[in-house]
Symmetry: C2
Subunit: 445 residues, 2 copies
């Protein structure tokens, strides 16, 4: 089956008019969420480090770095913005596999800004890029991931190549080459989790996918069976390959509709516990010092991944369900500030943290939790969180996404610019020049 050529033909045959309104709106939601993450981490140590390393080699100032005044050539912008997208682990997540926006939108925004393209062109290309990366990723998932590949990098490069290829107007053969050039750059090891390289993966995927599209546009050739051939992507990087996943239901359903956004700046498995703490505190209005104990019942996965009793850094705090619950209870929030070094060392948070217990129950799902808070005066409140906020069953609302964006952009952009970016994201499909959005995402002099 000529799956690479088939996918290439379907990608280039797609028209913006084909994309349903609900999918277009989801593209705007993903854009707003992604831009918040990129802006919010624009001063992060990992971003500073990468930018410092590559800046001496950057070409003309073609594209913005959201949250910063530097302008880079589009390839370096794709790299740096791909890193900032993911460094907080706060970006979007497909219900089954990849973080879809981090490898695609950094490449697309840079290319669209440079070429003065419209918002509907960007939205169309983004929807197709997500479709390509998710379908290719799912065709080899979960074995590919279990082997040790960071699928956001390895499949993300296809998304960036497909999306940029759409913006560049590639023909079907060139699109097959772009997918092939992407396949042969596909990389990223899960061994890197916990180091700066984790966020390098979507950065490189964005940059490599953009490069693939630019090369293909000049008729740089690759194999045209790069995905399915015996020595192609799927067979070499996975023990499973289900090619039907790439084409079945094409144009009838959109993978972007399975996208999830995180309200909290930590791993999804902790979210239901955080929800329960925040909800009970808001409803009953007690004070942290009134709390005698917090009892969590959670999925075994929660204790497998986040059982750090005594986190010492903000990053370790993300791997402590105890800290997450305590910080959420004290602050009624679980953003980046709740996973700062200051917060994990805060005496009030530590006092609550020491009263948190967590027990695992295999009957509980990974986005589910039972939370009981007992107070010193004998009162006790319980809450069953069946689905954490941000899951498909209980998605963040547009207003929730705006609030998340405001939290991330605060202190980086002035308030008026924050509202301007939010408005431009909601209007993306009618925006004549994507450059207006890119400029609004950068603090004005």
């Amino acid at each position: 089956m000529a799956i690479t050529r088939t996918l290439a033909r379907r990608l280039v045959a797609s028209r913006y008019e084909d994309i349903p309104e609900a999918v277009r709106h989801e593209a705007a939601r993903a854009l707003l969420n992604w831009l918040g993450c990129a802006i919010g981490s624009s001063r992060h140590e990992t971003v500073e480090c990468a930018l410092g390393a590559v800046a001496p080699f950057s070409g003309p100032p073609q594209a913005a770095v959201p949250g910063r005044r530097e302008r880079l050539d589009i390839l370096h912008a794709a790299l740096v913005n791909g890193i900032s997208s993911h460094v907080l682990d706060f970006d979007d997540t497909h219900a089954r596999a990849i973080h879809p926006s981090a490898p695609v939108l950094p490449a697309l925004l840079a290319l669209a800004e440079w070429r003065g393209m419209s918002g509907s062109q960007l939205a169309h290309a983004f929807v197709l890029g997500v479709e390509a990366e998710e379908r290719i990723g799912l065709s080899v998932f979960p074995e590919h991931y279990e082997i040790g590949w960071h699928i956001t990098g390895t499949a993300g490069v296809f998304g960036a190549a497909a999306a940029c290829g759409i913006l560049l107007g590639l023909n079907a053969r060139q699109m097959a080459w772009a997918l092939g050039i992407a396949a042969t750059q596909s990389a990223g090891l899960r061994e890197m989790f916990g180091s700066m390289c984790k966020s390098l993966h979507p950065g490189r995927a964005a940059q490599n996918g953009l490069t693939a599209a630019l090369l293909a546009a000049r008729d740089f050739t690759s194999s045209e069976q790069a995905i399915e051939a015996p020595r192609g992507f799927a067979r070499v990087l996975s023990t499973k390959f289900d090619p039907k996943v790439i084409t079945d239901g094409w144009g009838e359903r959109y993978e972007l509709m399975n996208n999830m956004y995180k309200p909290y700046a930590c791993g999804l498995v902790v979210h239901a516990a955080i929800d329960g703490c925040i909800e009970l505190k808001r409803e009953h209005g007690f004070h942290p010092e009134d709390v005698e104990r917090i009892e969590l019942k959670v999925s075994p996965l929660v204790l497998e991944l986040t059982a750090k009793r005594t986190p010492r850094t903000g990053l370790e705090g993300k791997f402590s369900v105890y800290h997450a619950a305590a910080a959420a209870l004290v602050h009624e929030a679980a953003g980046e500030a709740q996973f700062s070094e200051a917060c994990v060392r805060d005496a009030e948070v530590i006092a609550v943290r020491e009263r948190v217990t967590a027990t695992a129950d295999p009957a509980i799902g990974r986005t589910e939790a039972y939370v009981t808070i007992a107070l010193n005066d004998g009162r006790s409140y319980s809450r069953h969180v069946a689905h954490a906020l941000g899951t498909l069953a209980r998605p963040m609302s547009d207003a929730d996404l705006e609030a998340k964006f405001r939290g991330l952009a605060a202190g980086v952009l002035p308030p008026a610019q924050i509202e301007e970016v939010i408005a431009l994201c909601w209007q993306i499909t009618t925006l004549e020049d994507v450059g207006a959005l890119a400029r609004a995402a950068v603090p004005r002099a």
Copy 2:
């Protein structure tokens, strides 16, 4: 075993004074051979295409493109020069695995020119880069290659990272990070053989390895067990891993001494058949039209890699043992001209090609061949080529390498400059500024 950290410590502990004279001379031979390949293909369609695609994004004019007047930032110079190194398939080959120079020297020459470093610094870094990439490659070879990985790309990125890390003066921890950042960018599928992407692999390896070293120099972190961890390079990209290969005999033997240079502009596996055809023709002086049939007995690998019966392009001709034998017989040569589009479409060559048969015999080595040429008049000549010219058993001399360089550089550089580059390569270890070599490799205005 902490193999990544051990390798990093040994790399940074090495001193130029430790490198034996014979190894230094081999570095000069490799440099001359590599530079000839890069200059000779500097106007190749693949190079023009890649250069055209990335030039709009290049930064300051920091580094030369041998054979051309454009100057690029060092990252893009590494990419483009990595492509030109390998596009003719005329570059060097380790006796067992990788094309060692193509991923390493493009990165090193660019970095050394930009930083104004000396030839002995370049030679030292090159020797260590080859040591790292060959040892890491051999630790997973041949299973890694058999799975479908193009080891020149996947292991080459470690060579570029290690070599550039030496030039940048990384400490042991930074070197471990550089190896890790290289590991997580390791890529390149054998499915791409026969397309422009094959030479993209060493180009990307050079650029990615250089990037890894630059990032590590700024303390961009990675796993420090990137090679050996359960989700690290060796386990994820191979079914075999023999870590002792990476450290055993370190400093006692040098992998560069197992380097081979090609007299013919195609894959090594075809060379013995070419040798046999040229030798029999020269000895017996028959005409191509006298040939009734040519029977080749070769290693099974020859038919696995080069079994194209009817090549349509010059590049496809390199993957056709039938074409290679026929063109060698007609022209008594197998340079770039014999793998041109004109030559694969030449009626005289095609007439001979159609009379070539090749059978595989597992008892025959990959640089060995039995060639029998039967003539129409009933005469028949046979030759057993035990070792192709250019193998370790029968190496090209320094004079052979000079002649090869002159052939490649003719028409690109004026004759005086050709001799200047040859002299500078032989003097590399006493050159104060590598920039002098980079400048001499570019046609003067």
